[in-house]
Structures are given as C-alpha cells and as structure tokens.
C-alpha cells in the first residue's frame, strides 16, 4: 500500500463545506424543533417542517462524510464550531439583540481559534488506507481518491 499523503493547509473549499454543513445542521434542527409538536397532524402545515428538517439532517450526513474523507477529524470538528459565531452574529444583525462585552470576547476567541486550526498542517489523503489507523477490519474495500 503506497503512502501518498501530503501535508497541506485546510483548503478554502473544504472550509466552506464545513460551514455549509454547520448551517444546514442548524437549519434542520430549528425546523425539527418547530415541527415536532405537530408530527402526525397532517392538516397542520407545520407537520411538514419536521420531515423537511429530518431530510436536511440526514442528507447533511453525506456532506459531513465527504468533509471527513478530505480532512482530519481534529480539524473539521473545531472548524464546525463556526455556528457559535454565525448564530449570534445573525441575532445581532437581524434581531438587534444586545451582546455583552464578555460574549464579544468569546466570539473573538472562537474566530481566533478557527484561524489557528485552519493554519495547522493537515494530511490531504491521496489514497484511503494510507494513514495508519485510518482503517481497520478488512482492507480490501479501499478507494482511490483523486
């Protein structure tokens, strides 16, 4: 098994996919929360919201698996904390909520953290199974990533 893994920074495309995944996850959860009270009451238009949320939630899983196939878990997961910023920022701009100085400090800390992580070297895997611990069980079903 050739080891074709090169060290790289987090590509912008993957970063944007992680943020998209995060936004979809939040949307799905809000929809499910809004619709769960009227789950089987099909005459109520809100019953539709839960199922829509569930579909988004499940399809989002495939996006997350794509992200994981492209980058490290210890990079993808913290970068997914972008929702901790996006939701308060949305609340500030659209709902004109007051944000205390301590909370601003927290938001700045998260942004800095994501910056540091996106600057850390990640392994871009060319071949699956090229990373020790990347697989276990049978190694027959390996996929060549372009």
């Amino acid at each position: 098994m050739e080891k074709i893994a090169k060290i790289n920074r987090l590509p912008l495309k993957i970063f944007l996919l992680i943020v998209t995944n995060d936004l979809l996850d939040t949307t799905a959860q809000l929809l499910m929360k809004k619709g769960i009270g009227h789950l089987i009451d099909f005459s109520n238009p809100d019953s539709f919201l839960f199922w829509m949320g569930l579909v988004i939630y499940l399809s989002n899983f495939f996006l997350w698996m794509y992200v994981l196939s492209k980058t490290d878990l210890s990079v993808a997961l913290p970068v997914a904390s972008a929702s901790y910023i996006l939701i308060p920022v949305a609340a500030i701009f659209f709902l004109h909520e007051f944000v205390s100085p301590v909370r601003w400090l927290g938001l700045v800390s998260i942004v800095l953290g994501i910056y540091f992580i996106s600057r850390s070297p990640v392994k871009i895997t060319a071949t699956a199974g090229s990373r020790p611990g990347g697989t276990f069980g049978d190694d027959k079903e390996l996929k060549a990533k372009p």
């Binding site: 878990l73 210890s74 913290p78 800390s109 079903e141 996929k143």
Partner: protein, 107 residues
C-alpha cells in the same frame, strides 16, 4: 448538578466515539455497508440520548458550557485512534474555541 456533569461527560465520550468511527469509514467506497459506520451511528444516537437526559437533569447553560469539552475529547481521540498529530496551532486553536464557547455561555 453532579448528575448532569456525569451525563454530559458520557454523552461527549459517545459522540467522540461516533465521530472517530465516521472518520474511519469516510474513505471507504461504500461506507454505508461498512459496519464501523453503523457502530458510529449507534454511538452518536446513544450520545444524543445521554445529552438529552443531561439537559433535563441540569441547567441549560451549564450543560451547554460543558459540552464544549467535545473539542478537547476529539483532539485527543484523533491523536490516539486516527494518528492525527497534535501540533501547536491545533492545540492553541482548540483551546481558544473551548474558551470562546465558555465565555459566550457564561455571559
């Protein structure tokens, strides 16, 4: 409060196990037919149930705040089970994010 603490820690452990299983499956061609993925999904589901019981056992802000420990769990789990090296930027970044979540949660 103590009960909520234990429940959150169990929930975050299970979620981390789930994420590691997902990561191990992600490079497979047909990952939906790979048992590790379903182990991960089961761990995730169990984690969610523990998370929900933690939410009902303790205050939301406390449980939420403690949930930020998942990034530290993930950092070490990825180091030991996925051979993802812990380097300075990653460690600083993870700590800053955890600190940031704690700051946004307490205020």
């Amino acid at each position: 409060m103590n009960k909520a603490l234990i429940l959150v820690l169990i929930a975050e452990c299970l979620t981390t196990v789930g994420q590691v299983c997902f990561k191990k499956s992600a490079n497979r061609l047909n990952y939906l037919r790979f048992p590790t993925l379903w182990m991960g999904a089961a761990a995730m589901l169990a984690g969610l149930l523990f998370w929900l019981s933690a939410l009902s056992a303790g205050e939301l802000s406390f449980v939420y705040l403690l949930g930020s420990i998942q990034y530290i769990f993930a950092l070490f789990a990825a180091h030991f089970f996925l051979d993802e090296k812990i380097n300075a930027p990653k460690l600083i970044g993870t700590l800053l994010i955890t600190l940031g979540i704690i700051l946004t949660a307490v205020s």
